[in-house]
């Protein structure tokens, strides 16, 4: 297990050394979203009977956590592939399971740190209630793990930074932005409500928000099932890629 622990330590140290970019910057971005949207909508919108600013905060926390979990594993892998330093983690006797776990846990930890940072700076605007902390924890951990694993797939698949940017901008960004972070899907037309139900990130945000307010668009048990299944599928795909050595071992 020393190999796994060291790889995890190295992955955490990697983003911690550039924490201004990897933690502080996304916290500031989320803060700007909150300031703009709450300024425009606070007086006009309530969701599930909750003031808009309070409703928005958990969504921003989760969105930031998810996006940064993805960014962590994907950027680490593509950087080490492009520079060739990936060889340092391919030569040692680290199993593909340990490899997977180290990258996913590091990604999740960065997601948690960014999420905690966003929560910390936004509570000045509104203090959301915490009705069910275990639901909060379950969704942020599982959501971070899914995005960490997806980041691994993207990092392994991409040969160039622009391919990774395509994955991030045309898949991850729309999935997270259109997942009910800024609104309840009940405010959408029927068609888009149905489309939202095919977005697994919607269930992550909705379940996470349930932990704060005790109300959600769908039952949290349903969300947990969807999120848990998504985690199993993405993990299986990532492990298969790692076992085959796809684009890592020629």
């Amino acid at each position: 297990m020393t190999g796994f622990r060291t790889l995890l330590y190295k992955e955490v140290l990697r983003f911690w050394k550039v924490s201004f970019q990897t933690i502080a910057a996304p916290v500031l971005t989320a803060l700007l979203y909150l300031m703009i949207f709450s300024h425009v909508l606070e007086a006009h919108v309530q969701v599930h009977g909750i003031a808009y600013t309070a409703f928005l905060i958990p969504g921003l926390v989760m969105m930031s956590a998810l996006q940064n979990a993805f960014a962590n594993s994907s950027s680490s892998l593509i950087q080490s592939k492009v520079t060739g330093s990936v060889v340092f983690v391919l030569l040692p006797p680290i199993s593909y399971g340990e490899f997977f776990l180290a990258y996913v846990v590091a990604a999740m930890l960065r997601g948690l740190m960014v999420g905690a940072g966003v929560l910390l700076v936004t509570v000045w605007f509104a203090v959301p209630a915490v009705k069910a902390p275990l639901w909060i924890l379950a969704f942020v951990v599982l959501g971070g793990a899914i995005m960490g694993a997806l980041g691994m797939i993207a990092g392994i698949w991409a040969d160039k930074f622009d391919q990774l940017a395509g994955f991030q901008n045309f898949l991850i960004m729309p999935l997270t932005m259109l997942s009910g972070v800024f609104y309840s899907i009940h405010s959408l037309p029927d068609f888009w409500q149905q489309v939202s139900h095919f977005n697994p990130v919607f269930y992550m945000i909705d379940g996470f928000r349930f932990g704060f307010f005790g109300v959600s668009d769908v039952a949290p048990e349903v969300s947990l099932t969807v999120v848990g299944t998504s985690f199993a599928l993405v993990s299986a795909a990532t492990l298969l890629l790692l076992r085959s050595g796809y684009k890592l071992r020629s």
Binding site: T2, G3, R5, T6, L7, Y9, K10, L13, R14, K17, V18, S80, T83, G84, S85, V87, F88, V89, L90, L91, P92, P93, I94, S95, G245, R249, S250
Partner: protein, 306 residues
């Protein structure tokens, strides 16, 4: 002494290119073994297969009896590889890099050995310097240190002295020689043939994915024993056909391999008779470079004629 590395009929293709065409080798424990060949001969592919960076299409490779595919954890623990490419992780200092590499191999609290490696590779003063701030030669030495950090019994050095200055190269070889004396098996690929000649007890030469020579360095030198005459002819000299067939063009000079000093006079007589005027003449004992060129040519290369 047992077998340190056994390579059995290893084949590897990259699309239509056959990088390894049934390579078989056995390297004994404690050997200092040279793997030579021109660019594209398959040396790095063979090392990559040994290190688990590439997967062979067929054949098997073992390190101290452990198969590199089915028993990869044990095999990799016994192997230290210095990669050819000058790669580094820009986030960390030299010491952090070595501590992390130790941890990957399951070794914690390895600072005593890390300090010893740093001292031997003249990196002590740079231990806390970020990798980005090191010169190319220093980065190369850190790569060597990373390969040695888990004290592997088998060390593979893939062109470790490329870009390293003479003084540091000597220091590196002293250190590697000491490791070899201590029982470590060393496999070296290099384009500096004088290094291979002075360091390696046995040498394999690869060409187009095949082993074209495998013998002790002494036997290889003896096989091509004799002298080499390099001639630069005044233009517009044209060698007669029977001499051109024996000569090789090396760096603008026509090179003849002779069995002994007594063959020099007939060669000069033939040149005089053909009206060739000699501008420069050098006579050297056969070295590994001549052996290398001889083996590569006899293995069917497109040699340049004079």
């Amino acid at each position: 002494m047992g077998v340190a590395v056994a390579i059995d009929r290893v084949e590897k293709h990259f699309a239509s290119l056959q990088a390894l065409a049934g390579v078989s080798l056995q390297i004994e424990e404690g050997e200092f073994f040279g793997l030579l060949g021109p660019n594209g001969a398959g040396k790095t592919t063979l090392i990559s297969c040994l290190a688990g960076l590439s997967r062979p299409d067929s054949g098997s490779l073992t390190v101290l009896g452990h198969d590199v595919v089915s028993d990869y954890r044990a095999a990799r623990r016994l192997l230290g590889v210095v990669p050819q490419e000058l790669v580094f992780d820009p986030f960390f200092s030299v010491r952090e890099t070595l501590r992390i590499q130790s941890g990957y191999f399951g070794i914690r609290n390895n600072d005593d050995w890390i300090d010893e490696i740093l001292a031997n590779l003249d990196l002590g003063a740079k231990a806390d310097t970020n990798m980005r701030r090191l010169s190319g030669g220093m980065k190369r030495r850190v790569l060597v240190a990373q390969a040695l950090v888990h004290k592997p019994p088998v060390i593979v050095l893939d062109e470790p002295t490329a870009g390293v200055d003479v003084e540091l190269r000597q220091g590196l070889w002293q250190f590697v020689r000491r490791l070899n004396r201590d029982g470590h098996t060393v496999i070296l690929t290099t384009h500096y043939l004088e290094e291979a000649e002075s360091l390696c007890g046995r040498i394999a030469m690869l060409k187009q994915g095949r082993v074209v020579a495998l013998d002790s360095t002494a036997n290889l030198l003896a096989r091509f024993a004799g002298q080499t005459v390099s001639l630069r002819l005044a233009p517009p000299a044209v060698l007669p056909q029977h001499l051109a067939a024996r000569a090789t063009l090396v760096d603008g000079s026509c090179t003849f391999h002779l069995a002994g000093a007594r063959d020099i006079e007939p060669l000069l007589a033939d040149l005089r008779q053909a009206g060739c005027v000699i501008e420069d003449l050098r006579l050297t004992q056969t070295d590994l470079e001549d052996v290398f060129l001889g083996v590569m040519q006899s293995a069917g290369s497109n040699r340049s004629r004079c």
